[in-house]
Symmetry: C2
Subunit: 313 residues, 2 copies
């Protein structure tokens, strides 16, 4: 029951119509691990931060049972920082700045104790870096991988190599369309799966997610929320919830993947209710289970057709 | 088991990346009735056409058991005509022209034989016209109503009156946001339901639909299709499938509404696979039932958690 997340730990400047945060704790590895921990005994993180990274944020993560042996502190540089501003409807955002800082020379070394992790989550990084991480992990049950438009455009060859090695790609709908060159998501999924990943998850923000496997398509909505404060990190939290659930499965079959997708969606829903990762700070497994039950009501088609007068077939 | 649809019968000029049709059979009442007929004995249509409406299209509808007693032929004018062109991703379209023609003076009279219809579908028309239709129908089990941004902006008072009288409003997400003035769909739904309709359905195109009632929210995805030719009429076909299913229910409770929503989504999926209403011409109830089964696979969260090693709560 172990998850290893390799990605970023960052400072995020976030502005939404409902408030703002400066230098909030952020980054893909942060959200993945903070989300995975609810379903998982052992959560391992590999990332780099700079000399400006505060003890306070280290404590936030450590006190949530995230193992930080793999958090490299680069004394010669500053922590990766990102700033974004969301539009009124929260579906679009402008990136205000991206300061790579210590991330630009990040070449992750996986601690020995992490090398047998069951589920490996490759957060969004340069595909060559993601591939080097994979080589250091011994036979994980599943390798999940995120990417972004920048790598699709600028590192197509190393991304192609990587896709042949991973088990599950997790991207959003625009990334899927760009990677495949096909606007239709079903056709796009077929093409992406032919590039390697057995499982493809396409995230659609407020519209939920689709999971494509050899046998089937599975759809989960986003949990309907009346009060969304900040969508930052929802996609990474989704991957973390998905990975955390799978780490507890004896066998990763289609039913397990479907369950995991629901857990991912539910953990993401808690993330967007507060700023940054704050919605994950004091969340409990039993709150998650409660929302899983509501999720069933939201999506379950009743079985009985007994209410019908008759049918005109 | 009767559905009455009052709306438009039109000529549509349609262009999508996959082809085009000129003067295709179109209009809200056309799609609603063509979709409702699979689940319903008696499908009644009220609309107006001009002197240019061809017998061929009358035959298309009549041969599909649509009662055309209520189709008024205005000898002094031309049929309502619309032209639209879809963008590459099919999610956006430009309206090229709208010629109201005989529709501009349409004041529907409901034939006596239609006045006891069980389900009344008010296709998109001026809200005052929709209200006058309602007065002519005796105690239907359910009144469904569509509207559009034009009426939200230009007839807010008569729309407000109408909303206090109907049972179910069926709009798309941008219309819901404009009607409520609220970008969040859950909050938007709460406000719209407070204006009158017990049931609110928000259509989201390729992302499916949400149904809001007093007790619950229910989500259906759009059926995932690899080959979508033309989205025209999908929303009206959705309403027709929904209405047709409800017309066969002894009692319209939450389970019935959920089932109806799935039937609506499935019938809409057949609509978009061909141009105009052609996907509904030779469709059968058993094909619909087959896709309903696939729909369950697409959305059903497996019950058993037996695959779990343990849980870390």
């Amino acid at each position: 029951m172990s998850v290893l997340a390799v990605g970023t730990v960052a400072f995020d400047d976030i502005e939404t119509p409902f408030g703002k945060r400066e230098k909030a704790l952020g980054g893909s590895a942060t959200y993945i691990t903070m989300a995975a921990r609810f379903m998982c005994d052992e959560v391992n993180l590999v990332a780099v931060v700079g000399n400006d990274f505060p003890d306070e944020y280290v404590d936030v993560m450590r006190s949530r049972r995230i193992d930080l042996q793999g958090l490299d502190v680069d004394k010669d540089g500053l922590t990766f920082a990102w700033g974004g501003k969301y539009h009124y409807d929260l579906n679009n955002r402008d990136t205000l700045y991206t300061d790579l800082n210590v991330l630009s020379s990040f070449n992750p070394t996986i601690p020995n104790g992490y090398r047998s992790s069951k589920i490996l989550c490759l957060g969004n990084l340069e595909p060559g870096v993601q591939a080097r991480v994979m080589k250091q992990v011994e036979n994980p049950s599943m390798v999940l991988c995120d990417t972004m438009n920048y790598w699709i455009e600028n590192s197509p060859e190393s991304l192609k190599d990587l896709l042949g090695k991973i088990d599950c790609l997790v991207v959003n709908d625009s990334e899927a369309r760009e990677l495949s060159g096909i606007p239709n998501l079903v056709a796009s999924a077929r093409k992406i799966r032919s590039m390697g990943p057995e499982v493809l998850i396409i995230k659609k923000g407020e519209h939920g997610a689709l999971m494509f496997t050899e046998e089937s398509v599975f759809s989960v909505p986003a949990y309907p929320l009346e009060d969304i404060q900040d969508p930052t990190g929802a996609g990474d939290a989704f991957m973390g919830g998905f990975a955390g659930y799978l780490s507890g499965c004896k066998k990763i079959n289609l039913d397990a993947l479907k369950h995991a997708l629901v857990y991912g969606s539910v953990v993401a829903s808690y993330t967007v209710e507060k700023f940054g990762p704050e919605g994950l700070y004091d969340l409990t497994r039993s709150e998650i289970e409660g929302r899983i039950d509501s999720f069933r009501d939201l999506t379950t088609i009743p079985m009985a057709d007994l209410a019908l007068i008759g049918s005109s077939s």
